[in-house]
């Protein structure tokens, strides 16, 4: 159950396919659409889903994800509800890995032990906690014990020494933050990203996903060259934010994700994905 992430990256490798990891804020734009949106993400080419747990003080996020979190919080979205959606999603999809992404305080208040078992039982595969650096990873020992994978960030500022420490503890995959900045910013430098990703992968076979600043097919292709997967967050969240209802949101997912999937498949590996 808990090795969905490893399994998925192994499959991607075998098929020489680049992973596509969309990020959405749980409960935004509409709480009753989250599960349907997650299925749509998979239908249009997602290999793994990052589900954002909204937080009131997201210091690493730009205005798009800030506002998206604020909307979700205003509707009372919390961990219990989010785990319910994951459970519902798992009724129809037992393969696509789900990583909860967010900040520490909502988990701290929920209780790590309680979260660990409930999240695992709901079908969550891993967590990526933006404000939990490798030094403090013992904080969530309960989660690791329950089999949830702990995904770490690596940044352009990460030193060789830190990288070694992170690789030692990393599980599932490493999330490379493509620039020093906040989500949604326009600072992507694909050449620098390729160099850094190559260095992270040197002497290690943990998969690397690149996120921050990936907004469309062109930028996805540009950073995917060396990476195993790309993460797309703000651009998708912004697109969903303009939709008025559930149907419109599902249409937006297709319109947004399908071209990116297609572009990634046409540049990577022989295993072209069948047209949807």
């Amino acid at each position: 159950m808990s090795c969905r992430i490893e399994k998925r990256f192994a499959e991607l490798r075998a098929r020489q396919r680049k992973g596509l990891i969309p990020f959405i804020t749980a409960g935004d734009p509409l709480p009753n659409a989250s599960v349907a949106i997650m299925h749509a993400l998979v239908d249009y080419g997602a290999d793994l889903i990052e589900l954002g747990v909204p937080y009131s003080d997201p210091v690493a996020d730009g205005p798009t994800i800030q506002h998206s979190s604020e909307r979700a919080i205003a509707r009372g979205v919390g961990i219990e509800q989010i785990l319910g959606w994951v459970r519902e999603f798992r009724e129809r999809d037992v393969d696509t890995p789900i990583v909860l992404m967010g900040y520490l305080n909502p988990l701290e208040i929920y209780g790590y032990r309680r979260f660990a078992t409930e999240a695992r039982d709901a079908g969550v595969d891993g967590v990526l906690l933006v404000d939990l650096p490798v030094e403090e990873s013992a904080t969530i020992a309960d989660l690791r014990e329950a089999g949830l994978r702990q995904i770490f960030l690596v940044a352009p500022t990460t030193t060789a020494q830190r990288l070694a420490a992170i690789r030692e503890q990393a599980q599932g995959f490493i999330y490379y933050v493509s620039f020093a900045g906040i989500t949604g910013a326009d600072q992507l430098d694909p050449v620098a990203v390729r160099q850094r990703v190559a260095r992270i992968k040197q002497g290690s076979d943990i998969p690397v996903a690149v996120g921050f600043g990936v907004r469309d097919a062109a930028s996805a292709v540009a950073v995917a060259e060396r990476a195993d997967a790309v993460v797309i967050g703000s651009a998708l969240v912004a697109r969903l934010a303009t939709t008025a209802d559930r149907e419109a949101a599902l249409v937006a997912v297709g319109g947004f994700l399908a071209p990116i999937r297609k572009a990634l498949d046409s540049t990577s590996g022989p295993q072209r994905r069948a047209a949807l």
């Binding site: 909204p54 937080y55 009131s56 003080d57 997201p58 210091v59 690493a60 730009g62 205005p63 800030q66 604020e70 919080i73 009372g76 979205v77 919390g78 961990i79 900040y103 520490l104 305080n105 909502p106 988990l107 701290e108 208040i109 929920y110 933006v130 404000d131 939990l132 650096p133 030094e135 403090e136 770490f152 960030l153 690596v154 940044a155 352009p156 500022t157 990460t158 030193t159 830190r162 992170i166 933050v177 020093a180 900045g181 906040i182 910013a185 600072q187």
Partner: protein, 413 residues
């Protein structure tokens, strides 16, 4: 003395309060470094640089020179005799941080951090501010050292602290209004972090209180600890004894820890922090993180925070912008849990009365933040005999608050 104020019910046994934080930045269960990876290397660089500088005699001499000649230290301890008589109990002594250059304790810290920034070769300074006192103190040292200065300030605070906004501009700083979240201090801190994460190569973040990730709670405390060191020596010289009780207002907690730190191992000295109870603890509209919050993680450290059951940080309320913060420095969380200090709420109303009483009996206009400490000192004094001494940190002067006070009392200026 009331049980509340005596604070002797130790739950954690601590031998030496000066031994904190540990190498990981922990004060018992609190503190630490909970930050995005991008900022971890610069934080570690800062920690290493600061640990070296705090032992460097040249750096210390430079800092002390500026405290003396630029800030005007030492600040006096003033015996507020008429206020004490009016109160009818113990003697109230005021540590006059309001007499510092720029009008508050905040400059102790900004001088120290600007010197660290200069040593590290950083030329662009960012800061967050609530009341504007830390913003002014930062803009001041940036002007003095020729550094670029950007100050983040919540749009709500900009409205209620107009004079300080203009002061910062006069000093050459750029003031950036923050319109996210509750548009107060915590959001200014978030926005400063976002700036830092974006401009990490050339930027130094001068945090204004003992919050944030390690090494800030330690570094800001060290720079403000001059207050308590001076006060302890002054007490012995002027009064021949230590005070019975210390009190100070607690927003993030920098003026409070500044006063308390030198006395932490003097177990006979009681310590009481005054948090903002806003419209009253029962109203829910307050900023009393230690009295009404729970352990959580905010702005890079584990501490007491005001949040809901989903872990969302809630909006706080206080008449004083400088106390309007939903977290508190981790060392205070530690002092609370260890029983060494106690923390109580003081309402807007009580702070206002104390402001007026101090103005009329002593000719001192205190900052609204500091008025919370004065109110607490008055409360403590009432229950204590006349020969006991209460040392209250008068962290700042009230010039900046004149408009707020007038507006609250329905007076058009």
């Amino acid at each position: 003395m009331s049980d509340e104020a005596s604070g002797v019910q130790a739950t954690i046994k601590v031998n030496d309060f000066h031994a904190y934080p540990d190498a990981q930045g922990r004060f018992g269960n609190f503190g630490g470094v909970f930050m995005p990876e991008t900022l971890m290397p610069p934080l570690q660089e800062l920690t290493a640089a600061y640990l070296q500088l705090r032992e460097d005699p040249e750096f210390i001499a430079e800092f002390e020179r500026d405290l003396k000649h630029y800030v005007g230290r030492p600040s006096p301890i003033y015996h507020a005799e008429r206020l004490s008589r009016e109160t009818g109990g113990a003697q109230i002594l005021l540590k006059r941080e309001d007499l510092n250059h720029t009008g508050a304790h905040k400059i102790n810290n900004t001088i120290g951090q600007a010197l660290v920034a200069r040593r590290m070769g950083k030329r662009r300074i960012i800061a967050e501010t609530g009341a504007g006192q830390h913003g002014v103190a930062t803009a001041t040292v940036c002007a003095r050292f020729g550094l670029d200065c950007v100050v983040y300030m919540g749009a709500v605070d900009i409205e209620r602290q107009k004079i300080n906004v203009y002061r910062m501009k006069l000093l050459g700083a750029e003031v950036v209004p923050v319109v996210s979240g509750s548009q107060t201090l915590k959001d200014a801190l978030n926005e400063a972090m976002r700036d830092w994460v974006t401009n990490v190569a050339d930027t130094f973040y001068i945090i204004g209180t003992v919050a944030g990730p390690h090494p800030y709670p330690m570094m800001v405390r060290d720079f403000n600890a001059v207050v308590g060191r001076e006060a302890r020596a002054q007490m012995l010289a002027q009064f021949g004894r230590l005070p019975h009780v210390l009190t100070a207002c607690v927003g993030g907690g920098s003026n409070a820890i500044g006063l308390f730190h030198a006395f932490l191992n003097d177990r006979e000295v009681a310590i009481v922090g005054a948090e903002a109870a806003g419209e009253g603890m029962a109203s829910g509209r307050h900023a009393a993180s230690l009295s009404a919050g729970r352990p959580g993680v905010l702005h890079g450290n584990r501490t007491y925070v005001l949040c809901d059951d989903h872990g969302q940080i809630v909006e706080t309320h206080s008449i004083s912008a400088g106390l309007d913060y939903p977290g508190v420095g981790p060392e205070h969380a530690f002092l609370k849990d260890s029983g060494r200090a106690s923390y109580v709420g003081v309402s807007d109303e009580e702070a206002m009365s104390a402001f007026h009483l101090l103005a009329r009996t002593e000719g001192i206009l205190a900052a609204l933040e500091s008025s919370h400490a004065v109110a607490q000192a008055i409360k403590l004094a009432r229950d204590l005999p006349k020969d006991q001494l209460i040392l209250c940190n008068l962290s700042g002067r009230g010039d900046k608050d004149v408009h707020t006070i007038a507006a609250r009392e329905g007076i058009a200026l």
